[in-house]
């Protein structure tokens, strides 16, 4: 429930920024969107189980599903890669990061 709400807020904010003008804001928007997607992955495990999936250190009966965490890790890094590239695009070329058609 809370997780769903949290994700909803992230996505809403992300989409709003993505629909704005200028590469930087769009990039920020995507950062938020990827947060949302990553949390969705975590949530796809069972949010009721919130112990760390560390053998010996925590009670595996309540340990969280490690698989979606691995997914999320992978997704975070991929999102990071694209983010820095988009920032580079925002700073590349002439003028500024405007994304409107030049007429």
């Amino acid at each position: 429930m809370t997780l769903a709400l949290f994700i909803g807020v992230l996505v809403a904010g992300g989409v709003y920024l993505v629909l704005q003008r200028g590469m930087v804001r769009i990039t920020f928007g995507f950062v938020l969107l990827s947060h949302g997607a990553n949390l969705m992955l975590i949530s796809a495990g069972v949010a009721a189980r919130r112990d760390e999936p560390l053998v010996h250190l925590s009670d595996l009966a309540d340990a969280a599903d490690a698989l979606p965490q691995a997914f999320a890790l992978t997704a975070i890094v991929i999102a990071f890669s694209i983010t820095i590239y988009m920032l580079a695009l925002a700073g590349a070329g002439k003028g500024d990061d405007d994304t409107e058609d030049r007429t």
């Binding site: 429930m1 809370t2 997780l3 769903a4 949290f6 994700i7 807020v9 992230l10 996505v11 809403a12 904010g13 989409v15 709003y16 629909l19 704005q20 930087v24 920020f28 950062v31 938020l32 949390l39 969705m40 495990g45 069972v46 949010a47 009721a48 189980r49 112990d51 760390e52 999936p53 560390l54 053998v55 010996h56 250190l57 340990a63 599903d65 490690a66 698989l67 979606p68 965490q69 691995a70 999320a72 992978t74 975070i76 890094v77 991929i78 990071f80 890669s81 983010t83 820095i84 590239y85 920032l87 580079a88 695009l89 925002a90 700073g91 590349a92 002439k94 994304t99 409107e100 058609d101």
Partner: protein, 960 residues
């Protein structure tokens, strides 16, 4: 065996034609003519079997058995008639071309003409509907090139012709497919024999209409008639062969071929008779209007084809017999006339009957031959045209339907015939009659006239000995109506009605000829408000305009207009699911904890802030805040590795972002209220969709079998106790390999793109300095703190990262986290450097990236030793005494990850951090140095940029 032999020989001839042309030039026509005749002879050997014993020559070979399409060939009487046209007239035209063209190379011409002959031959012997269609289209394509090759003026007509005939072809394709689907075979003879034609009128009519469209486009019937005159842009031999004798007859062939199946279909009868006669009349009228002999002939062809279509529509044995005879007769006289018009054009330099006059005195033979053919066309005895015309009349009188149908159709036919008579004389008189003005003209070489002579004299001979054709025509009736015909062709066979009709025709025709001035005045006005070509062009342009409008819908590079659509699709899906309803199971255990609400609160603050922020840096700061909140949530959800990674990624994102922001205006671009509103609506939709999806689809089941397995078996399987890390480097190392490739490539493409497009000038340092107080501001003074801390912290972080790398398998850490920590260290070292110029860490980061990817992959390859890619190998390395270190290649893999990540981070810092950037397009890392000297960089406020003029980068496009 004879059919495929001849067919393949024709194809070979086509391929050989360019060779012949190379050696013989235009004279290549002669050998080609001979070959055509020889091939005709080969067929002739079997002809008696066909016409006398009613046999068919067949051949069958598989082509696409999967789709039940075969290479079936079948030659019957009908086919034979058209083969005679293809090879006979073909030979004449080839011989004619050898003299007609200017000396020199005509390779493409001879190639295309031979290819056309092959295609046309295949068309009339194909016994598979798909094969039939293939050859049908091939003739269209040949026609396209033969018209287009004539020159600039012919380009548009060629395109018009192709599009129109191709459209007809598609109708044929549709018919073919409907037949295949409905009857279940592609073999033409089987299809035609199928009872479905009688039992299922809907099917019969559908196919019938499609066939009619195809035939009408090919044979230039109203309303498609206009392409034929348009196609006269082609050279005369092409017109004579394709657009008089052979190709335009393909439609006639198709109609005759399908007569057995459709001759009793009312739609078929009405459409063919109606449009056929209409075309016959219109064509004749147009012919009477025209002064250009070639155009006149074209319209006369349209008219004659109209007669043929109409008589096929009658569908009685007599009618189809007439169709057979007239097809032959028309081919003979029309080919002759075209050839002779070509001769006149060549000798006199004009085809306009207003400028030609009295040529009979200077070129009597030409005149005689032309007259002979024209009389045949006019239906004057004792020529073959007379006999065929009478047969037509006889056929028309048998028109199906009510009593008056026969007489009515007959009457209309007579009108058409009268007009035909009139324009036939118009041709002869126009060119050869009247006073002779150009007296110095002379008869062309007899060699040039020979082919025309053959065909026109054939028309005369066959007039007297028409009986020779009886057997063939009988066979055609058998093929097209299923009952053997009893045709007796002769000039005189009693006072039948058609005799009177001929008499009327000739009588009235003569009157019209005498009154020709009056007729000309009468017809000297447009008969229709629109021209076919005009209508076509309007549709053509209209389509293009429509297309442009369709393109405009998406004609923008602004992401917004594109990005809203996917959200809309997701909204649709969500809506559908909500409406349809999917019984979601209940939550087995509560998934919410009070503390979550606190995080949501923080998040909302951050998001709202970002949404309303006008300053880039403010938004960035808030982005950082949100990132940390998210990381916190990860920790709360028992995902320490994810949380750690999230934190570090956030730091690095902010650093990189700062490096870019200093090159951009302080404030975001202003956006209109309307746009904000639109974005807000879309955003809310997206947000609710995401929330609903998460709420409905996650957390409602027990832990998955896989997740359960990992918790249970991870240590046993891998020796690691940090389950997440074991998944990353052992179970799903392939994902990780892909992920680190992605990261590495990101580094490379940043370099590549900056190399080709350069970077904005970094002249906004001061404003940034107020925010961060680092080397970005690049003032020595305000970085003291950062430097003192950084100098100690950076190395520590890098050490820590190595530690994290080693322990990662067991506790939070591992390749990415450790590398990101190390990266943070470098970032700190970078930021705390006294000047941006001193900052860049001169490491071969490209090499790091490559070696990282390489090392990880190679480690994976080692796994093949144990049977599979990325299979981790284990070994206990004795350290000292009995202490051993459990070594696994998974660690080496992680090292690869580490290298790549560090490489990318340094690459980003270096490439985005330096002040100036000139484009090289040679992405090498060593030839790139910060432009400004250190002294300048020391200047307070860091206004350490050269004049923007120098700094503007060259876009690759300009270099091309």
């Amino acid at each position: 065996m004879v059919l495929p032999l001849v067919l393949s020989l024709l194809a070979l001839v086509a391929l050989a034609a360019p060779m012949l042309d190379r050696f013989l030039g235009r004279a290549a026509g002669w050998p080609l003519a001979v070959v055509f005749l020889l091939l005709g002879a080969i067929i002739a050997v079997d002809a008696p079997r066909i016409v006398t014993h009613g046999e068919d020559i067949e051949f069958s070979a598989p082509w696409m058995p999967t789709f039940d399409v075969s290479f079936n060939l079948l030659l019957d009487g009908t086919g034979l008639l058209f083969v005679v046209l293809v090879l006979g007239v073909g030979a004449l035209i080839m011989g004619y071309s050898a003299q007609y063209f200017s000396r020199g190379k005509h390779a493409d011409y001879y190639f295309l003409m031979s290819l056309f002959a092959a295609a046309m031959f295949g068309l009339v012997i194909a016994d598979d509907v798909v094969l039939l269609f293939v050859f049908w289209e091939l003739t269209t394509i040949c026609s396209f090139f033969l018209i287009g090759r004539t020159g600039l003026t012919a380009n548009k007509p060629a395109v018009r012709t192709l599009l129109l005939t191709a459209a007809g072809g598609l109708a044929l394709l549709a018919a073919v497919i409907v037949m295949i689907v409905h009857i279940g075979t592609a073999q033409l003879s089987v299809i035609l024999a199928d009872p479905a034609w009688q039992e299922d009128p809907a099917f019969a009519t559908t196919v019938g209409v499609l066939i009619i469209i195809a035939a009408f486009t090919k044979s230039a019937q109203f309303p498609f008639h206009y392409w034929l005159p348009d196609a006269m842009a082609a050279s005369t031999p092409v017109s004579a062969y394709l657009h008089a004798a052979a190709m335009v007859k393909a439609g006639i062939y198709l109609l005759m071929r399908f007569s057995p199946a459709l001759a009793d279909n009312v739609t078929w009868n009405v459409a063919l008779i109606g449009f056929g006669l209409l075309t016959a009349i219109i064509g004749a009228l147009f012919a009477l209007q025209r002064h250009d002999l070639k155009e006149l002939l074209a319209y006369s062809t349209v008219s004659q084809l109209g007669f043929l279509v109409a008589v096929i529509g009658i569908g009685t044995p007599a009618a189809l017999a007439a169709a057979g005879v007239h097809t032959l007769a028309h081919a003979l006289f029309k080919a002759t006339l075209f050839m002779l018009v070509g001769v006149i054009d060549r000798e006199v330099g004009s085809r306009d009957i207003r400028r030609l006059t009295g040529l009979r005195r200077v070129m009597p033979i030409t005149a005689a031959l032309a007259a002979l053919s024209a009389l045949s066309m006019a239906g004057v005895p004792p020529l073959l045209g007379f006999i065929s015309k009478e047969k037509l009349f006889a056929g028309f009188l048998e028109a199906p339907g009510p009593e008056f149908a026969g007489p009515l159709v007959g009457a209309v036919a007579v009108v058409g015939a009268v007009l035909t008579f009139a324009y036939s004389f118009r041709i002869v008189y126009g060119a050869f009659g009247g006073p002779t003005t150009q007296t110095k003209l002379r008869e062309p070489s007899l060699v040039l006239l020979l082919p025309a002579a053959v065909s026109s004299i054939a028309g005369l001979v066959l007039g007297f000995y028409a009986g020779w054709l009886d057997l063939l025509i009988d066979r055609i009736v058998l093929d097209t109506r299923g009952i053997p015909g009893e045709v007796h062709l002769s000039l005189w066979h009693g006072l039948a009605p058609e005799v009177y009709m001929s008499a009327i025709t000739i009588a009235v025709g003569v009157v019209l000829f005498v009154k020709r001035e009056a007729i000309d005045r009468l017809l000297d006005r447009p008969l229709f408000p629109v021209t076919g070509v005009g209508v076509f062009e309007r549709c053509f342009d209209g389509t293009i305009a429509l297309g442009a409008r369709v393109g405009d819908l998406t004609r923008t590079n602004a992401p917004t207009r594109h990005l809203a659509l996917p959200v809309a699709l997701i909204a649709v899906l969500t809506g559908a699911v909500l409406v349809g309803g999917i019984g979601v199971p209940p939550f087995p255990e509560p998934v919410t904890e009070p503390v979550d609400w606190l995080l949501i609160g923080l998040l909302v603050v951050g998001i709202v802030g970002m949404v309303i922020a006008k300053s880039r840096l403010a938004a960035l700061a808030l982005l950082g805040v949100v990132g940390f909140v998210v990381a916190l949530f990860f920790f709360l959800l028992g995902a320490p590795d994810v949380g750690l990674t999230q934190l570090l990624v956030e730091v690095l994102t902010v650093v990189v972002a700062v490096l870019i922001l200093r090159r951009l205006p302080t404030l975001f671009h202003p956006t209109s209220r309307a746009r904000k509103g639109f974005a807000a609506v879309v955003a809310l939709i997206a947000g609710s969709a995401a929330a609903l999806g998460t709420y409905a689809l996650t957390g409602r089941r027990e832990i998955s079998p896989a997740g359960e397995y990992f918790l249970r078996e991870a240590e046993e399987d891998t020796g690691g106790t940090n389950v997440v890390n074991t998944i990353l480097v052992d179970y799903r190392a392939l994902d990780t390999l892909g992920e680190l490739t992605v990261l590495g490539i990101a580094g490379l493409i940043i370099i590549a793109v900056l190399d080709s497009s350069g970077l904005l000038p970094g002249d906004r340092g001061s404003r940034v300095a107020t925010f961060s107080g680092t080397a970005i501001g690049s003032a020595t003074g305000n970085t003291v703190l950062a430097r003192t801390v950084g100098r100690w912290l950076a190395p520590l972080l890098i050490l820590l990262s190595l530690y994290l790398l080693l322990r990662g398998h067991d506790e939070p850490g591992g390749g990415f986290i450790s590398a990101l920590v190390g990266g943070a260290g470098f970032a700190l070292a970078y930021l705390s450097a006294p000047s941006a110029a001193a900052a860049p860490i001169r490491w071969p980061y490209v090499g790091l990236i490559a070696s990282g990817i390489g090392l990880a992959t190679l480690t994976g390859v080692l796994g093949f030793a144990d049977g599979s890619f990325l299979r981790p190998l284990h070994a206990d390395v004795p350290l000292f005494g009995d202490v051993t270190y459990h070594f696994t290649t998974a660690l080496v893999f992680d090292v690869g990850v580490y290298l790549a990540v560090i490489g990318v981070i340094i690459a980003a810092l270096n490439r985005l951090g330096i002040e100036e950037y000139e484009v090289t397009d040679r992405g090498s890392m060593d030839n790139r140095q910060p432009v400004p000297p250190d002294g300048q960089a020391e200047s307070p406020g860091g206004q350490d940029t050269a004049d923007p003029a120098e700094t503007t980068s060259v876009a690759g496009g300009e270099q091309r």
